[in-house]
């Protein structure tokens, strides 16, 4: 009998907890109308970026395709027309397909990109009715003409050390040719007529 009364008191405690919860505000977000703030570093759908003058950052180097662990990226590169270039480098991507059904959103592609052309942005609302609709082509991924952003680049972690001997091209658009040829990836937003401030270890311009 004593146990029964002790148990009843315990049950009362349980009831008080649910009643306290009853008075709390729900944590539910009414999704399509009311969206949660996505963390700045969240990796959503890919975006292909442009330089300020409207040229594409992507130079068709295939590094992202090579590093992609899921094999989600397919690129066909093409030589740039000298008169009417598409990108700043020697080549540009004629075809740039990302299969969102294969992609695991690991972010290796944005890490590998020497020109900061591809980043994973905050668009996480990815759904489609067909497989084809989830195969993103270059037109779908490229940011609209006239806009030039660096996307989530500034939130990347870990940040490069301050006292780095060369600058990280992904963040500056400046490229020192230390890891691959500057002719291949172009010189970003730098004025082509101006000489580089500091001669770097190996200039590969004439390669």
């Amino acid at each position: 009998m004593d146990r029964v009364i002790d148990d009843l008191i315990a049950l009362g405690k349980g009831l008080s907890i649910t009643f306290k919860n009853y008075l709390e505000k729900p944590v539910t977000k009414q999704y399509p109308e009311e969206k949660r703030d996505i963390p700045k570093r969240a990796r959503g759908r890919h975006v292909l970026h442009r330089y300020n003058d409207g040229l594409e950052r992507c130079v068709g180097c295939l590094l992202c395709q090579g590093t992609c662990p899921a094999g989600a990226i397919y690129i066909e590169a093409e030589e740039n027309d000298k008169e009417n270039p598409v990108s700043k480098g020697e080549r540009h991507a004629k075809v740039f397909d990302v299969d969102l059904l294969r992609c695991i959103y690991c972010g290796h592609c944005e890490m590998a990109c020497p020109t900061n052309a591809i980043t994973l942005e905050n668009n996480t609302a990815l759904a489609g009715f067909t497989r084809e609709s989830l195969l993103m082509h270059k037109e779908d991924l490229l940011e609209p003409e006239g806009s030039s952003t660096l996307g989530t680049t500034e939130y990347w972690d870990p940040k490069p050390p301050e006292d780095l001997s060369h600058r990280v091209p992904a963040q500056t658009g400046e490229f020192d040719g230390s890891s691959t040829s500057a002719a291949a990836v172009g010189r970003g937003d730098l004025d082509l007529n101006k000489a580089p401030k500091k001669p770097t270890r190996k200039e590969g311009d004439n390669a």
């Binding site: 009998m1 004593d2 009364i5 049950l11 919860n21 709390e24 729900p26």
Partner: protein, 370 residues
């Protein structure tokens, strides 16, 4: 009986059934909303403002759903079982006095919703509610599914066990009132103490066994999802399932009505208030308000407690509730013989419970000393 009177009764019965089904619909939505709130969710809120049309959407869905009947089923019993459940649930409501006087729905000075004001209302209600086990047992057995059968066997054992506790819990207040008519029980409490004040133990036992009688959580073993699929209604789909569902909720309303009428003064606004103190001192609204509080408790308990194990269920019924009920009955009987005032019962019953508590603690301490 004159034909016009019979017609009037039929019309009233139809109105009450329709209102009960509306109450059932609103109850399902309220339950989902309240339970969601207790879990920090929102619950159904898409169909209409705050989801008030959700039950109608659900009802339409169930109406248009295909009604499957398993090959192994016994067709007649399979079809008749949900009807038994629903008819029993609707019938038992007919003796509840939803108001005592003329406001606001009088028919010949009685409540519109009380179809039959019979002298043995409590007995009638107990008899009819014990029929409800037939709906469940026949439904489970006739489905030809072993999980349904286990569910219905659990249901029958559970309902038979808890009916005893329910009966003893009701007997004590009935002894004090000296009548089996719900109207007289309600009138007994007009101007005096509500019976919950003089019979607190009986009220608690009644509440617990009422949960078990209506197969509500934490006593919902007959439909334990994790073990039995959906229990006795596993093989029912569409409208046939919804008849079972409806019966369960209407039984909840009926059981709350009994609790309110017997222990909480029926339609009277406050304890120690006379039924004719002022115009609305008793009315259908107070009764409905008390029912809503009871319903909230049903939801609240469901959202809080996990389901009992089967041996725990039987232990509570036979080794706790029934002896306590009998003790309560004995104390009340002595009190009635000596014509105690209402607080005499309270003191005697609380004293006995305290004695049991202290005695239990002492004997346990002695055991641990050995």
């Amino acid at each position: 009986m004159e034909p016009i009177l019979a017609l009037e009764l039929i019309v009233r019965a139809v109105i009450v059934s329709a209102l009960l089904q509306l109450a059932f619909a609103m109850m399902t939505r309220w339950e989902r909303r309240a339970m969601a709130q207790m879990q920090w969710r929102i619950g159904p809120n898409r169909a209409g403002p705050a989801g008030i049309f959700q039950p109608f959407a659900d009802g339409l869905k169930l109406l248009f759903k295909e009604q499957l009947m398993p090959d192994g089923a016994r067709p007649f019993l399979y079809l008749v079982a949900p009807c038994i459940s629903l008819v029993v649930a609707l019938t038992s409501f007919s003796v509840i006095p939803t108001q005592l006087g003329n406001w606001p729905f009088p028919v010949e000075g009685r409540s519109l919703f009380q179809i039959a004001d019979i002298d043995v209302g409590v007995l009638f209600l107990l008899g009819i509610t014990s029929l409800s086990v037939y709906g469940i047992v026949l439904g489970g057995w006739a489905s030809g599914n072993k999980y349904s059968l286990i569910g219905s066997i659990r249901a029958s054992a559970q309902m038979v066990s808890y009916e005893l506790a329910l009966g003893t819990a009701l007997l004590s207040p009935l002894l004090m009132v000296g009548s089996l008519s719900f109207r007289e029980i309600a009138q007994f409490q007009s101007g005096g103490a509500w019976l919950v004040l003089s019979q607190p133990l009986a009220a608690i036992i009644f509440m617990i066994s009422a949960l078990a009688e209506t197969n509500r959580a934490p006593f919902d073993l007959p439909e334990a999802e994790q073990e039995l699929g959906a229990g006795f209604h596993t093989e029912y789909s569409g409208m046939r399932f919804s008849l079972f569902f409806m019966a369960e909720y209407i039984a909840m309303i009926t059981v709350s009505s009994v609790l309110v009428t017997v222990f909480f003064g029926g339609p009277i606004l406050l304890p120690f208030m006379s039924a004719d103190a002022f115009l609305f001192s008793e009315s259908f609204f107070w009764y409905a308000f008390k029912i809503l509080i009871c319903m909230f408790c049903f939801i609240w308990i469901r959202a809080t407690f996990p389901r009992f194990r089967y041996d725990q269920l039987m232990n509570i019924g036979w080794r706790v509730l029934l002896p306590l009920g009998l003790m309560n009955l004995a104390i009340t009987a002595v009190g009635v013989v000596f014509q105690m005032p209402w607080w005499g019962y309270t003191i005697a019953i609380c004293g006995a419970v305290a004695l049991l508590y202290v005695g239990g603690k002492l004997s346990r301490r002695q055991e641990s000393n050995h």
